[in-house]
């Protein structure tokens, strides 16, 4: 379904030239002319106000020329010094996808998109964590994240490189940025994925995400448009083991910016004054729910948590009651965690909570209700009163630590 320009209608306004993400429209004698490499994304058709551009023999559904797209690109989030954990997890996942592609007889490179200013040796680190190639945009304008020019930069990179898959972390930044890019590229985007795999028959990306408050999982595909875009939830994918000897290539790209590109101005960035709760990285988490009864109950859990060197978590019930801050909340609407050990105290185990803890290596529950959903979701459930069990457990751990000191 090639794109055609109807010369008699073309006024030479150049709107289509600016809209084409793949820069394949040029002006010749004041008429738009298509150069080779058109992907059939249709952005020019949306933009033309004179009906001068159409698809030839359109079959009801837009199908881009998917064969033009290759490789997996990962957008790297960072603080100008180190890449964020989710970005490294995405590189690890992209490596896994590349392996699956090669089993299907397709060679696919993993490319990291690194945008910022004074980036040090971060590009080498990205290679050590699994990137084959790093595209570096190093410019003072990009020192801080800004929706406007970051969108422009990534669209320009995607236009030149035509990646088959383009991944972002499902962070505040990723979820601000990726939808804008997907719209401009006229492609699909799946939010907050918890699983990605390559379909064995069609070679396309199958993207799985929770919906309906964690009550349901949905698998989504983007068969006819490219790149296949997804934001991926932090803490779900596995990092690739760091290999300082891994070989990769680097490429510096310039982004053409003019003053009209700056439409959002950052006036201030303030670090949160609250102590940062690191539930996502915790090896052990002690968490409380409705059964802790009050703020005092959570204090008892905190003494156990301190003894174990663990982090303190909570279910939505406990947070809604105001017993503890929202940054401690675990579950679909809170954080997804993957500790070695999760100790659920007085948590009944709603679906939305279980969705956030299912990747824990071991789950121990302490609960008075044998019929609570947490029981079947745990490796061991102790039926009993947490106010009796937890203090004794804390003392026993302290004694053990003293004995082995």
């Amino acid at each position: 379904m090639p794109v055609i320009v109807h010369e008699e209608k073309c006024t030479g306004c150049k709107l289509c030239v600016a809209a084409c993400p793949y820069t394949v429209i040029s002006m010749q004698e004041e008429k738009a002319v298509l150069l080779p490499g058109c992907t059939y994304c249709g952005a020019c058709i949306d933009t033309c106000e004179f009906g001068a551009i159409t698809f030839e023999d359109f079959q009801g559904r837009l199908c881009m020329d998917v064969a033009l797209f290759k490789g997996t690109h990962v957008f790297i989030e960072h603080d100008n010094q180190t890449a964020s954990k989710v970005s490294l997890e995405l590189l690890g996942k992209a490596r896994g996808l590349a392996d699956e592609f090669s089993r299907q007889g397709k060679d696919q490179l993993v490319t990291a998109i690194l945008i910022g200013y004074e980036l040090g040796d971060m590009a080498d680190e990205l290679i050590a964590y699994g990137a084959d190639h790093v595209i570096v945009v190093n410019d003072e304008s990009f020192k801080m994240y800004r929706t406007d020019i970051y969108t422009k930069a990534i669209v320009q990179i995607a236009g030149v490189k035509k990646p088959e898959i383009l991944l972002f972390g499902a962070t505040a930044q990723g979820r601000d940025l990726a939808p804008r890019i997907a719209s401009r590229l006229r492609t699909g985007l799946t939010a907050d994925c918890t699983a990605l795999e390559i379909c064995k028959d069609e070679g396309i990306l199958l993207q799985t995400k929770p919906a309906f408050g964690g009550n349901m999982m949905v698998t989504i595909a983007c068969p006819d448009n490219r790149p296949q875009m997804a934001t991926v939830r932090p803490g779900v994918m596995k990092k690739y083991p760091r290999d300082p000897d891994k070989i990769g290539t680097k490429e510096v790209m310039k982004i053409d910016l003019d003053e009209n590109d700056f439409i959002i101005h950052i006036r201030d960035i303030m670090a949160s004054t609250k102590k940062h709760v690191k539930l996502e990285d915790a090896e052990i988490i002690v968490a409380g729910g409705h059964g802790v009864n009050n703020q005092q109950g959570l204090k008892i859990l905190e003494t156990l948590s301190d003894e174990l060197g663990a982090e303190l978590g909570a279910s939505r019930a406990a947070v809604d009651e105001g017993w503890i801050g929202q940054d401690h909340q675990i579950g679909q609407t809170g954080k997804t965690v993957q500790p070695d050990l999760y100790i659920a105290c007085g948590i009944s185990g709603s679906l939305q909570h279980l969705a956030g803890i299912s990747q824990s290596k071991y789950i121990i529950a302490i609960n008075t209700d044998r019929k609570a959903p947490i029981v079947s979701a745990s490796d061991v459930t102790f039926i009993g009163d947490l106010f009796q069990i937890v203090p004794v457990l804390k003392d026993k751990i302290r004694e053990y630590k003293k004995r082995t000191d």
Partner: protein
């Protein structure tokens, strides 16, 4: 100050249950509500309108005709007019097709200084329609706003961006998605609800009322397709222990030591 608020009718997901036998989602009897963060957006629009000299607040929704009840609820909160964009041809739209269709409705409304959306819906949970709408309309955006201030044609937005708070400034017209922390939506008053039914109309626009490119709407205009849905099993088939508290504590310690989980 003219403000458009986009809203969606959603099933109350807190009421959604799983059939324990079939594992299927039980949607019967689940009430339909205004997406909670869209209510925060309406509240914020009403607040901003009050602090400016004139202008009106319009709520805009895309959905089946039943979604009219959601718009009536918005009218009862005090918004000035409600528009429902509804057509069979829009069915099956993903976020790209939805944001495109909404953008064409907004182009028809023409006069606006600000578009407010909820950060995300509780059914699809994508948070994508806001930014995608901003892109179709070529507007500056701010997501997850916790505070909005307007002076003349300058909007200042404070947003919580994971571990930092960002303060952004942009010129109107702009699009802002709001977090549920921005305000507490007002309760509706019964007499206002009655008045919303008696005195105010919900305008419905179909495909013919908008200048749409047919390649961008409904299922065919949606790059993403749902391949399957399933209920996630969290079962570990673990063991259940019932003993005196001291013995339970002993067992837990043994478990921790056996799996080498204790850091000394």
């Amino acid at each position: 100050m003219n403000i458009i608020v986009t809203v969606k009718q959603v099933p109350d997901t807190h009421e959604v249950k799983i059939d324990p036998k079939t594992g299927a989602l039980i949607r019967e009897g689940v009430p339909s509500i205004i997406n909670p963060e869209d209510k925060n957006a309406i509240e914020e629009a009403l607040r901003l309108k009050k602090s400016s000299d004139d202008g009106e607040v319009t709520v805009l929704s895309m959905g089946p005709l039943q979604a009219e009840s959601t718009l009536r609820e918005a009218l009862s909160m005090g918004v000035d007019r409600a528009i429902l964009v509804s057509d069979r041809a829009f069915a099956g739209a993903d976020t790209l097709a939805t944001s495109y269709t909404l953008s064409m409705a907004i182009k028809k409304i023409e006069r606006y200084d600000l578009i407010l959306c909820g950060s995300q819906t509780i059914d699809g949970e994508t948070g994508q329609v806001g930014p995608q709408l901003a892109e179709w309309l070529d507007l500056p955006q701010a997501t997850h706003a916790e505070e909005i201030n307007i002076q003349g044609n300058l909007v200042t937005v404070k947003s919580n961006f994971d571990s930092v708070t960002r303060v952004m400034e942009m010129k109107t017209p702009a699009l802002i998605t709001v977090s549920n922390r921005i305000n507490k939506p007002r309760y509706k008053h019964m007499n206002k609800v009655l008045r919303a039914y008696r005195d105010k109309a919900v305008v419905t626009w179909s495909k013919e009322d908008l200048k749409l490119n047919p390649i961008r709407i409904g299922l065919n205009g949606s790059p993403t397709w749902v391949r399957k849905t399933f209920v996630h099993s969290h079962s570990r088939d673990g063991i259940v222990v019932e003993k005196p508290a001291a013995n339970c504590a002993e067992d837990i310690l043994d478990f921790i030591l056996e799996k080498a989980l204790l850091k000394l």
